[in-house]
Structures are given as structure tokens and as C-alpha cells.
Symmetry: C2
Subunit: 434 residues, 2 copies
């Protein structure tokens, strides 16, 4: 099928093609104080507040005046709360409005005034956190990562804990520490064991020496549940998903190693988690469904899905750019490398009655493949910090250096109709002196 064409110039390699239409929050040179919803298309964004104000949604009768108020908010929460049918009709409407053969040329194609008002060059805008995040939960569904890291600390046959194949293991993360792509990440200080083999163990307070990345896919919730009322795996769980973002769950391995017994990761994780700014809807990814990693365990009914293709074949990549400006792609891996899908994570999360809310963020856990060049963390690439990772420009890393920039990208599809996420990027700033 030939990709749909637009009257707007869309480069063939744009990840914001007419097939995508992801949602975000922007401000602009023209209105710097006003954060508002937008969609990304080609090298432009469509300011949905201006578009709505200028009667851009006049052709979408199903959107009431009340609905239109969601486009005057500074987060996407109110839009998300309207539910998937509304998200999809807005996306399809915008696809039509931008189509070369649009049925509504008067809306934007032939409307110079509204184009000028609402269609902004991306470089004149800035993106912000798309959602007000209620709770953030990070799962551990990347089986290859769980195996690789388990094998570093235990025998390979015991790499996975007994519960791993029975439930999507996860932990509650820190919502306040989630930031949008481009935000600097300060190297955390904390308690670490300078000599982990010493007895007794005596911690020092130090800047982390083992700063790492975690390549993840994030998922925003649009539709929650009442406390005590679980979300069922089929239908309900898929309908509770607003969309997806790329995620880097920065991790301080030395802080984490000392603190995490028995209650899990804490300061080793809560100093920063970066997400990409554009929320890609499930409908934009529907053509890229893929099957999960097979699970040989007998799954309990509340986690059994009626279809198996509930993850996505998104081509993820990780670039490491040194402060000298040398960039190396250190990983390429498909986002389908998960043992558990997001619907399964949602069904499990709410199985005991935990209330999910609009704006909650779920992380997949680190996504790794089974080779050497498709790993989602430096911990795995350096075999637990024992092996050098060779970079372009004669640089060497085992963990991150100050000034390093890590950029995650994710894209699906073919030339002319790519569906991508934009960058999920952050630069490491030196630790605060103490």
C-alpha cells in the first residue's frame, strides 16, 4: 500500500508521517508561558489549542464544546480521560485534514490564517512532560535483560527468580523524578560500598561510579479503575492504554546494589527517568503488533490474553555521544523482546484492587535481545562492569561519564509512513559537591 500523502511537505524519512500523529505538550516562541496540547507532523507541530480555537474541529461533530476544553489544558490528562474512541477519531480527523485529498480543505489546507496560527515549525517550539503523572510503576518484563543480569550475580540456571515466568514483576517508581527528553540528569550521590567484599560492609557517601541506562518502553494510562475493582485482561486492559513513549530509567548500580535488600530499588533509581515527549497512540502502532517472547509457564487465567500479538515490533536504538561529540550506536533491539505485554502488566497491577488513574505511567523494564549488540543497559554490555565498551573516537566506557549524552530512538514501518517517537535524550551532569 502506498503511503498516504499530505499537502504538507513530509520528508520520506520523517518519523512523524501522516501514519503517526502523536500527541504532546508544547510551548512556543510566540506563546512561551502557555503550555498546550499539540500533535507532531513532519517538521511541524499542530497547536491544538489554536486549532480548536480557530474552529479547526468544526468538521468533527462528535467532539462537543466540552470536549474541546481538553485542548486548553497544560497536560494531556483531560484529553486522555476522554477514552480511546475520542483519541482515535481526533487522530483520524487530523489525518484527513492533512491528507492531500482531504475532504475538508477549508479547515487547514486552504485556510492561510489558521495555518499561520496553529501550524508551527517544530524548531520554534519546546516540548514538556505530556502528562501529569499520578503514579509511576516500573516492570521487569524484558526477559533477556532479567536473564542477563540474573546470570551476572547467580548461576545461569538460577538467573530468573521462580516467580518471574508467573507474574509481571514490577515495583513502584518515583513519579516526581520523571522528566521530559532534554532535561539534564545530575549524577546522584549516595551510599556505596567502595569495597563490596569487605566484612563488615561499610558504606561511603560518594558520587555514583556506576551510572547506567535502561532502555524501556513506557505506557500511559487513560482509563483507570475504582479501588477494589480489577481491570480484566481482555478488552478492559487494552482500552485503558492512552499511548506509548520511549523511556530511559537511569540507574546508579552501586547505590542500588547496597540499598535494594529487602525492599527493592530506591535512590538507585529515583534521581531521574527520562521519557520522549510525544505519546504514540495504540492505533498508530496496530500494524506493528508482534508476539511476545514465548512463556513456557502455565499462566493463570487473569493473565491469559485472547491474542498473542500484544507487543510491538518497534526498532529501538541507543546512541551514546561523548562530551567530545563522538556518537556511537551502542544498541539496536526490537521492543517486542518482552515476556509480558502492557495489558498483562495492567491486569496484574490491578488484580488485587490497586486503583489505576489517568496519567499513570508504566515502564516495560529494560529491553534487551539475545545478542551482543542488542542490549538495553551498560551493565549487560560491560558484563557487570568487567569489559570495556569500545566507542567511536577511541573512547571507552563501562558506565557513563559526566558529559555523556544518551539518546534513545524508536521507529516502526517504512519510508514515507514511519511511525516514530522522537528522541528520548539526556546528558549526564556532574554530581553536586558535598
Amino acid at each position: 500500500m502506498a503511503p498516504p500523502k499530505s499537502w504538507l511537505a513530509i520528508p520520506k524519512d520523517s518519523e512523524f508521517s501522516l501514519s503517526n500523529i502523536p500527541f504532546g505538550i508544547i510551548n512556543s516562541k510566540g506563546s512561551p508561558l502557555e503550555k498546550r496540547p499539540a500533535i507532531a507532523i513532519s517538521d511541524h507541530v499542530l497547536d491544538l489549542k489554536a486549532f480548536s480555537k480557530g474552529d479547526g474541529f468544526a468538521g468533527l461533530a462528535s467532539l462537543s464544546k466540552e470536549h474541546l476544553e481538553v485542548f486548553s489544558q497544560s497536560t494531556l490528562n483531560a484529553f486522555a480521560a476522554l477514552g480511546q474512541p475520542v483519541h482515535n477519531s481526533v487522530r483520524e480527523y487530523i489525518q484527513d485534514v492533512f491528507s492531500e485529498t482531504t475532504s475538508r480543505p477549508e479547515i487547514l489546507k486552504d485556510n492561510d490564517a489558521l495555518r499561520k496560527e496553529a501550524l508551527l515549525p517544530k524548531h520554534e517550539t519546546k516540548t514538556h512532560l505530556p502528562m501529569e503523572i499520578g503514579d509511576y510503576t516500573d516492570f521487569f518484563a524484558g526477559k533477556n535483560h532479567a536473564f542477563n543480569t540474573g546470570a551476572l550475580f547467580r548461576e545461569p540456571k538460577n538467573a530468573l527468580q521462580p516467580n518471574y515466568t508467573h507474574l509481571p514483576v514490577g515495583y513502584h517508581g518515583r513519579a516526581s523524578s520523571v522528566v521530559v527528553s532534554g532535561t539534564p540528569i545530575t549524577r546522584p550521590s549516595g551510599q556505596i560500598l567502595l569495597d563490596p567484599t569487605a566484612d563488615p560492609k561499610v558504606p561511603a557517601f560518594s558520587a555514583s561510579r556506576l551510572l547506567d541506562i535502561e532502555l524501556e518502553l513506557g505506557c500511559f494510562i487513560c482509563k483507570g479503575n475504582d479501588m477494589g475493582s480489577p481491570i480484566s485482561i481482555n478488552k478492559q486492559a487494552e482500552e485503558s492504554i492512552f499511548g506509548f513513549v520511549l523511556m530511559n530509567d537511569w540507574s546508579a548500580r552501586d547505590i542500588q546494589a547496597w540499598e535494594y535488600v529487602p525492599l527493592g530499588p530506591f535512590n538507585g533509581k529515583n534521581f531521574g527517568t527520562t521519557i520522549s515527549p510525544w505519546v504514540v497512540l495504540p492505533s498508530a502502532l496496530d500494524s506493528f503488533r508482534a508476539e511476545k517472547i514465548p512463556n513456557e509457564a502455565k499462566i493463570l487465567p487473569y493473565l491469559q490474553e485472547s491474542r498473542q500479538d500484544t507487543v510491538y515490533n518497534i526498532s529501538l536504538s541507543v546512541d551514546l555521544t561523548t562530551s567530545e561529540g563522538d556518537t556511537t550506536t551502542i544498541s539496536r533491539v526490537s521492543a517486542s523482546n518482552l515476556l509480558w505485554s502492557f495489558p498483562q502488566m495492567i491486569a496484574h497491577h490491578s488484580a488485587g484492587g490497586c486503583p489505576m488513574r489517568t496519567g499513570d505511567l508504566l515502564g516495560s523494564g529494560t529491553i534487551s535481545g539475545t545478542g551482543e549488540n542488542d542490549l538495553g543497559s551498560l551493565l549487560e554490555m560491560s558484563l557487570g562492569g568487567k569489559k570495556d565498551i569500545m566507542l567511536t573516537g577511541m573512547h571507552v566506557r563501562r558506565f557513563l561519564a559526566d558529559g555523556d549524552t544518551v539518546t534513545i530512538r524508536g521507529v516502526c514501518g517504512e519510508e514515507g509512513s514511519y511511525v516514530g517517537f522522537g528522541q528520548c535524550s539526556g546528558t549526564v551532569a556532574s554530581a553536586v559537591p558535598f
Copy 2:
């Protein structure tokens, strides 16, 4: 010192004496749709929205018109964000207004109209969550509890993990599951091992059979920090505290036992955490400062406090009431049984740069003493479910039964000037059928 007297009748045993003045959120029979701030005094509440509207704060010049808007909000977040000096001046002003020898009788004592409008009988009001909670973190600072539970699963000499005396161990909880006293708690279902000794381990999906309580003190944050900028232990950490509540961190021990390796508690905890409705300010507790449990470890500088009396001697009690209406006090213990203070928890939490925000909730962890009658969980009272707990009325428990009501109370001081928290209570509802 004789307790201060009020023109309002305050029973000698009231925990809401003139020495207290805790803040909460109410609605009332008269205005059921309007949640607004209030303080509790005797058997009444002072509706701060009505009080403010009726010029009740006319005598407090330091409160600007902008400040007064915080009393029209449906949570205490805006009031909390004004900082301790404002909280304290409002509390002292209200103490004066209610004093028998008030310097401002025209404000309320002799103002029939405003008394009628703003001073409501408590039984005509209902309390709600006092704060919009950003993130909820639960610590593990009750050393006796940590030792008791560690000793159930390991030898006593290894009961505490090596990190325990070096840092306040904690984990990120689930903010969406925090509810106000009086909210029913549905028994969670989840994955449990019907036979934990079987090999291989095979989970079943079942209603929890080991539903437990955790007696805790909660702490709300009023003043946060920017990401990357730690809160220092002395001065800053104490100033970041808005006030305290009682907390029951309901726990499903069987769900927790199977899920918690390696990332910590998840569905075993996130089905409900109950807090008491009235936030007691640090200034109200200042006379009840006590010393922490001594720590023999060498504490790192970022956790060293300039004074040692940074916990409180609050008399906590736990009542268990069966569905037949028989009540047994199953525990009495002082809230001073902590190895780490809240300022230490705050300094540790933010040490790596994690941003704290107004409305964040911290739990102390379960508070137990060293005897048999001062334990903070049924897990400890029943020695890991192996010993019957005998209740009034010939009832027996090891864990909670459906219909059980657990009520936590906390009070400081002496007859006539008690400082108390009100009830932290919840009743167990049967599991959702599946």
C-alpha cells in the same frame, strides 16, 4: 503548667484540645459538595473557608488576601506550601481565638453569626484525604519490627540486613491507594503459593489468606526540593515537614512473599493504605520529642542530626473489632520506637537528587516495641502465623478475618491538653469474586 482553657466546652479527655489544632479537609450536611479546610477542636470543627470568608482572620495581619485563598481549596496542599511559619501563626492565632482569655473576643467568642456559620458539630461533617498525594514512600525505620520479622525468616543474628543501620531503608509505595480513615478495605486477591514448600513453586490465584496490618506514623511534606538538589539534614529537613498522621499500611503477606524478590513489595501492599484525617503540626508535638532507638553504626554525615530527640513519644494503640462487635486492644506502643527520624528519611530520600513535593507522604515503617503486647503487625503477634492471638469474646486470629475493623489511635500529653490524631480505621470487606 495548667492546660489553657477555652470558652468552648472541651471535655478533659478530648484529643482535640486547645494544645492541638490539627488541620483536615471536610464537607458538611450544610455544604455536602464543598470539600474545604478545617481544624478540629473538641467535638467541633472550625470550617476555615467560612471562617476566612467571615473575616475570621482579620486579626492576623501577616496573612495576605492571597494567603486566604488557600482556605478555599479542596486539599491542604496550598496551605501546606505556605511553609511552617504560616502554619504556626495560623495555629497560634486560632488558639488565641478559642482561648477563654482571647485578645480578640469579637472574632468568634462574641460573634454569634460567625460561630453559627463556621463552628460545626463534628458529627455533622465528614473528613476526606487531607492532601493530594504526589508520591508516597514507605520506610522501614521501626527497628524492632525489622528485627522481629527478620528473625522469623533468618537466624536472629542475621535478622537485620547489613545496610539496615546505615540508611533508612524504604520503598516507593502507591499514592493512588492511600485512603482516609473509614474507607472499607477489600481483601485483595492475587498470586499466592498454597504450598510454599512445593518444588517447583506453582502459584494459585486466590483471595489473600494472610491479611495483616502495619501500625505506622505518616508524615506529609510541605516544602520540596528541586531535582538534583538534596535537602540537608539539619534545618532544611525539619522545615520540609507539614505534619503527621496515623497510618495502617495493610499488607497481604502471602501475595508479598511470592512477589517481592527481587524488586520489593507490590500487590501485597498497593490495595490500600489508611491514614487518619487530621494533620497534626510539628509545633503541636514539640513538647513530646523523644530520642530515637540508639544506633551503634557510624552514621554518615548527611544523616547526622544536631539533636537526638527527633522522634515523638506518641502513645499508639491498635484495636481489633470483630464483626460481632467485640473489641480487643491488641497493641500499645510508643511512636518513638524508630531507628531513623523523619528528617533523616527526608535527607536520605533526597540525597541523590530525588525531588520531593508538597503533599508527598512518608510512612515510618511498622512500629513495634520489644515486648509481646507492643507489636505493630499480626505477623509479629502470631509469630509468622504460628500462634493464635486471643481476642475478647473467645475470638481467635492469626491474620484478619472479613468484617474485622482495625482502629489505630495516637495521643500525647495530659488530661485537659491532649494532642491526638483521631481514628485511623478500616473494615475488611470480602474479596471480589473471580
